[in-house]
Symmetry: C2
């Protein structure tokens, strides 16, 4: 008998029929002898409906009241799912974030979980009941309703699993696991049966949007085994995101992520002096523009080129700020490009396998793809290139690193399942 | 400076524009120097929408979960109204039933309020904030969400007013006060400026649906001055329902109520023995059929006729039960009529004015209206007649007892305002 926390997102509970399907899946797990806690999001469309209502009353609604409003979304789902479970003859009990006492800080709309009381939930589980919990919401020390922000239900599920020391936290989504890359772009993309938390974090930050980064970080911190599964198909065990190193490091590369949401900016001919990086990025940060990659080349004429990427939507804003900064710094000029793509190779295997980077560059060069920026971390290599090369580059790398579904040797496949 | 509790029903907060209008009205009261607590219902249509959702998942949803679901209705309204107040520059703070701690018993869907904590609300009021509270809902001692059932928001408002020792509890509805009778039937019907709780209770139980009986009883018990006002018009002070006797008992009759929702059943020729009433009504009560009027005439041939009224929807059911009972009691036969109306004259003035009953019967007789049943209490006389006489009888009595708007002497009008 295991204790399993299952999380179902908005699409999975989008209408009464889907809620009934989720109830059958939960019942199935429960009937197999497991204790089950279910965390659910608001029905898809509900959060938008409520936000529109709020905006029609106040263009910038006070965040405390917005949280009170949005928290009703999951409250509706927990009630309906508990009813659907009752219809199947399962004893189920729903709890809002406030009823569980998911204690958060007071940062409305992006609160962080501080503590979870698990006594009542544990008591229900021990009495054989299925516990249904509203994701995305909590309560601060003054009993104010808070919400956790985007992807908050995943965080609730992981935090609940950590508090209950659950055996597994299963995140049901509209995909059936984590793939080596986006299967819509590369039909040969292979579902990973296992991936480490670190790899998942790098994939997520590089544009693979299966899970929100915060919930993966949370799982990593509290060593909660996390599994991504499809709520729309009964086949497959999804992908297990584990905090343990793979027993045998068979794969050097876990996957390839790509991100077309960025734009590149360069300040050319900056005098190469200490403090320049700060003088360039300071005003950018103050304008609430987030910076991703940063590259600075060694100077050879007393000046240097300073390049970084921002979210594409912030391109014009950042460009304006830089014009100003460049003048102050007596830099030569500001250039930029918002038609770029960042492609990342991710895998813990890189640590012990030399030559991954050169293999990557060689594969891209063979296709005549010019690399504009390079940035590396211990388990990731990211390159920036013209956006038009996205598909070609991803497919080329996918094949070059043996990720295509048919190139996988049979014994390795077996070892992974 | 007074402390005023205002309650707005579902129609008054039915859309963002109406919520904005309520906010302006609340602001107006607050700007006049009063402390204001606002109790709101779910937006009109919302409770039906949620109930339909529940039914689509479970034909008879568990009541605990139904309460969790329905409680979201008012939670949406408190958030939106607080936002609308913020837009007007008013500091407002919303609370769910659980946040206030409106403690109820555990009878889901029809819970009764046991206790209200008023410390937080009082603190907010003293800090100059407007407090917005979700009506209709509470929490039991185990932190389960409960709802108070039909008209629950009125009860919340009155209970809140009692707990805070408010100066007045104002119930905003779609009518601008309590009338001597239904103005749609009698254009001469007059709005009462004052009415006693007892009169209001009798009017309510006789079919005048301005307020739910429970909230009036509550107001009576805790001596909360209750005022009925229109949320759609700015004119008029509505009707004050007071626990005090009118200083001068100018009016003998407060109003005329009528109820076309009843049906009449008679067991004819019942042996006139002790215990017969119980043997007839026992099985009716066990079948959950509520009985209103009961009349038994003196026997003169060793048998008696036993007549009572039930809700029209229960007529067939009650008739079937009676057939059975009649056989057991060797009664002669069962007869009935579901095309009747009950008309009631209500007024504390009856206590000190003799002859009201005979004046009533005379007025009806003059119109050739046959009276089928009569039942009296200290401040009410009810008669049952064929339904087709409803309008004629109500208008006749309205005129006969000087209730028509033009027959009201000028000085009396003045004294009432």
């Amino acid at each position: 008998m295991a204790l399993i926390v299952q999380k179902y997102g908005g699409t999975s509970v989008g209408n009464p029929e889907r809620i009934a399907a989720v109830a059958r899946r939960v019942q199935h797990t429960h009937a197999a002898g497991h204790q089950v806690v279910v965390v659910v999001s608001a029905m898809s469309g509900e959060t938008n409906r409520l936000t529109t209502l709020a905006r029609s009353v106040h263009p910038e609604p006070p965040l405390r009241e917005l949280d009170v409003l949005l928290a009703t979304g999951e409250q509706v789902t927990i009630a309906l799912l508990s009813m659907a479970l009752a219809k199947l003859g399962c004893a189920a009990c729903s709890y809002t974030g406030s009823q569980v006492r998911i204690l958060t800080d007071a940062a409305h709309s992006k609160a962080r979980i501080l503590e979870i009381e698990q006594a009542q939930v544990a008591a229900d589980l021990n009495a054989g009941r299925i516990v249904v919990i509203a994701g995305f919401q909590g309560i601060d020390t003054n009993q104010n309703i808070t919400t956790l922000g985007r992807g908050g239900s995943d965080t609730t599920a992981v935090a609940m699993a950590a508090a209950l020391q659950a055996d597994e936290c299963q995140i049901f989504t509209d995909v059936d696991g984590v793939y080596t890359t986006d299967p819509r772009m590369v039909p040969q993309a292979r579902r990973l049966t296992r991936i480490t938390c670190e790899e998942m974090l790098e994939l997520a930050s590089s544009g693979s949007k299966v899970l929100q980064i915060r919930s993966v970080e949370f799982a990593h911190k509290f060593r909660v085994p996390l599994r991504v599964l499809s709520s729309f198909s009964d086949t497959g065990d999804g992908t297990l995101i584990t905090f343990e190193e793979s027993p045998v490091e068979t794969a050097r590369i876990a996957g390839i992520a790509f991100n077309r949401d960025e734009a590149k900016l360069t300040v050319q001919g900056v005098p190469d002096q200490p403090g320049v990086a700060h003088r360039i990025l300071g005003p950018i940060g103050e304008a609430n523009v987030e910076v991703d990659m940063i590259v600075q080349n060694t100077a050879h004429d007393g000046t240097t080129d300073f390049t970084f990427t921002v979210h594409r939507g912030d391109y014009a804003k950042a460009h304006n700020i830089l014009q100003n900064t460049a003048q102050q710094l007596s830099a030569r000029q500001v250039s930029g490009d918002d038609q770029i793509v960042k492609i990342s190779l991710v895998g813990v295997g890189m640590r012990s396998h030399a030559g991954i980077a050169s293999q990557m560059f060689a594969a891209l060069a063979a296709e005549n793809i010019n690399i504009q920026m390079i940035s590396t971390s211990e388990i990731k290599i990211s390159v920036v290139m013209e956006e038009k090369y996205t598909e070609l580059a991803v497919r080329t790398l996918h094949t070059a690193f043996g990720l295509d579904i048919d190139t996988q040797p049979q014994e390795e496949k077996t070892c992974r399942t």
